[in-house]
């Protein structure tokens, strides 16, 4: 629930796309060592237009296009960050992150540990995930679990326009390497964003909705689904607490535990396949630290253990929705 900004402050309605663009603009303006680069991020403004206008504003020393080479994006960002700059690189689709995986897992994540003089790796990798647009197997996977078991990385998956902006600004200022994951299905989602400058700290779990009957821990795009499920369940007399960790690693667990201690019911929700995913970690922590508060099995909502299918009918069956969360909560409560 911590926000750096006065809740009474003026807010305007903005899309996630706009709030991200503004965050980039403000940070490029604030700090000369911030640079933004990637494939078609400059002249074209980014495939999804998140960086539109920034090249024109800051010039090609600060915002530039690169060859098609994700190893270069990941690798060069590590070097630039170690040298003292604050690179933001866009690796277009998160599905491509494994191409830069060695630099993320073995380089970026380990250099603060490796150096002895407080040198760290203040880089941000922006990348898109999100299923539901018929892009098929390789343009929509949720990659967080591939990098969750990597000490040294931070993984941020915001949900609302306000969180996206505040968290991206914090990620850029953060001294550690941050994987900043944007849900491409939600870029058009709009919501109130403070007019005044603000940041939202990384590694702080937020409660998006209060409720006493069940805890739903949802990440990224699934927060909207969880909120929708909560509304429907409310009609049936079940009040869900929707918990949004926002940062996946390092995870701020206490608010999750506190919520479960109150509701005694836990459901997790993610877009990635359930097996080996974020929800499993949340469940495992709760079963260790809040075992005696749990009244029912923990239900995890996620995709089935298959690649993302292309056909519309399959994709629909694949992507987890509010309905799945609703069913999981009812299941847990009725056990």
């Amino acid at each position: 629930m911590s926000q750096q900004v006065d809740v009474q402050a003026e807010q305007t309605e903005q899309t996630i796309r706009e709030s991200l663009n503004q965050a980039l603009y403000e940070e490029l303006e604030r700090d000369d060592s911030v640079i933004l680069y990637g494939e078609d991020v400059a002249e074209y403004g980014g495939l999804y237009k998140i960086s539109e206008g920034l090249y024109e504003e800051f010039g090609d020393d600060r915002v530039f296009d690169t060859p098609l080479a994700e190893t270069t994006l990941g690798g060069s960002a590590v070097g630039a960050a170690l040298a003292g700059a604050r690179p933001i690189v866009e690796i277009m689709y998160a599905d491509f992150l494994p191409i830069a995986g060695d630099h993320l897992i073995n380089y970026a994540a380990k250099m603060y540990f490796n150096y002895g003089d407080e040198t760290s790796v203040p880089m941000v990798v922006r990348s898109m995930y999100g299923t539901g647009d018929g892009h098929g197997l390789h343009h929509g996977q949720s990659p967080e679990a591939w990098f969750m078991n990597v000490p040294g990385l931070k993984i941020v998956m915001p949900s609302t326009p306000k969180d996206y902006k505040g968290l991206l600004k914090s990620a850029i200022r953060d001294d550690d390497p941050v994987l900043f994951l944007e849900n491409k299905m939600r870029y058009g989602e709009s919501g109130p964003v403070p007019e005044e400058e603000y940041t939202i700290p990384l590694c702080e779990t937020d409660i998006k909705r209060r409720g006493d009957d069940a805890t739903v821990v949802a990440i990224g795009g699934m927060v909207y689904e969880a909120l929708e499920a909560a509304e429907r369940l409310s009609d049936r007399g079940v009040e869900c607490e929707v918990v949004d960790p926002r940062t996946v690693t390092p995870l701020d667990t206490d608010p999750i535990l506190e919520s479960v201690e109150k509701t005694n019911i836990l459901v997790t929700a993610q877009e990635a396949p359930t097996f080996g995913g974020f929800g499993s970690e949340v469940a495992a922590q709760v079963i260790d630290d809040a075992f005696f508060y749990l009244d029912a099995p923990v239900k995890r909502v996620g995709a089935p253990f298959t690649p993302i299918p292309f056909a519309e009918s399959l994709e629909e069956a694949y992507v987890p929705t509010a309905e799945d969360i609703e069913t999981a909560v009812i299941d847990a409560i009725e056990t």
Partner: protein, 327 residues
């Protein structure tokens, strides 16, 4: 392949098939949408068509996102269109797209959405065929963009030192998505990037017979056990990278390339040299158009796959798709 052994009409028909197909895709997409976002190959047809021409049916093709000709010359039209629609008659019954379909039956190596990720697998397919001791050649197609990927280097080196029967064909259309190639590499010919000790050749990608010849020579070399070849075909696409993206390229340059349209060039040459008549071409065109139209009609009425289709992830182990193994 000497010119003598080229069946000019057949080659023209291959070109026309690809062009008419791509035109139909655009028409339908603009009219009512197609689930698979079109990445049109119009303008570059001669590269895929020419490279496929001298090959054997069981040679392995590894297309880029844009090598539509490979699909059209190898897979049934109905399946291709269904693949674009994501219906149950498509490749893998709708699990995957037409862009990345793979089929041992058609000799098409499956690819992924990662540009350039197929270069080492292509070398690997050649290795596999060498091990299996058949005389298949593998031909990988990829763009100027893919040539910027790290892998370009290791795939070529591996193929060269292992003397693998593989041909690498750069479809240099001078643009990597929205960026011109001049901004992304500092050399004129991409073939020069690859100085691994394998033969390289820059060819005119608008001249289908030049592509046929170069590929035929490379295929012979591969079959003789002499290893890989790299071809760089200079070409251009007429459409934006994908149909959702605006056109922002220089109109004059586009016009220059259009003046050397690969289908028009070949058509007029064949007419001039009396290999074919206007009437014959019209007849071919009509026939192709009918086949294409029928394939689209079939796809429009084809059904969507059932959920069960999706659970096709392991061949050797049955699993309960939410958790683990079925016992």
């Amino acid at each position: 392949m000497g010119n003598a052994s080229i069946n000019h009409r057949e080659l023209l028909e291959d070109l026309l098939l690809t062009r008419r197909f791509e035109e139909k895709v655009l028409e339908v997409y603009q009219d009512r949408g197609i689930r698979e976002l079109p990445h049109s190959s119009i303008g570059q047809e001669a590269v895929g068509v020419g490279a496929c021409y001298p090959l054997e049916d069981d040679d392995i093709l590894v297309p880029s996102l844009r090598t539509r000709a490979v699909m059209l010359l190898r897979a049934p039209l109905d399946e291709i269109v269904a693949g674009m629609y994501g219906t149950r008659s498509g490749p893998s019954n709708g699990r995957t797209t037409e862009h990345h379909m793979g089929s041992s039956e058609y000799g098409i190596l499956g690819t992924t959405g990662m540009i350039g990720a197929h270069l080492n697998p292509a070398a690997g397919a050649a290795l596999g065929n060498k091990v299996l001791d058949n005389d298949r050649v593998t031909v990988a197609f990829f763009g100027d963009g893919a040539s910027q990927r790290s892998e370009f280097h290791s795939a070529l080196n591996f193929a060269t030192v292992q003397e693998l029967p593989v041909i690498f064909v750069i479809e240099n259309n001078h643009w990597t998505e929205a960026s011109p190639i001049e901004k992304l590499v500092a050399v004129d010919d991409l073939a020069d990037l690859a100085n691994h000790g394998l033969p390289t050749k820059v060819i005119d990608g608008q001249d289908v017979e030049e592509v046929v010849d170069a590929t035929a020579t490379a295929a012979q070399r591969a079959r003789d056990g002499d290893g890989p070849t790299l071809l760089e075909a200079k070409t251009y696409r007429y459409r934006p990278h994908a149909e959702t993206m605006p056109e922002h390229r220089d109109e004059a340059t586009l016009e220059e390339w259009r003046d050397r349209d690969p289908i028009e060039l070949y058509r007029s040459r064949l007419l001039e040299e009396d290999f074919v008549t206007e009437d014959e071409i019209e007849e071919i065109d009509r026939r192709l158009q009918t086949r294409i139209d029928e394939a689209f009609e079939a796809a429009e009425t084809d059904e969507l796959p059932d959920e069960e289709t999706m659970y096709h992830v392991y061949k050797d182990t049955e699993i309960d798709h939410w958790k683990g193994v079925v016992r």
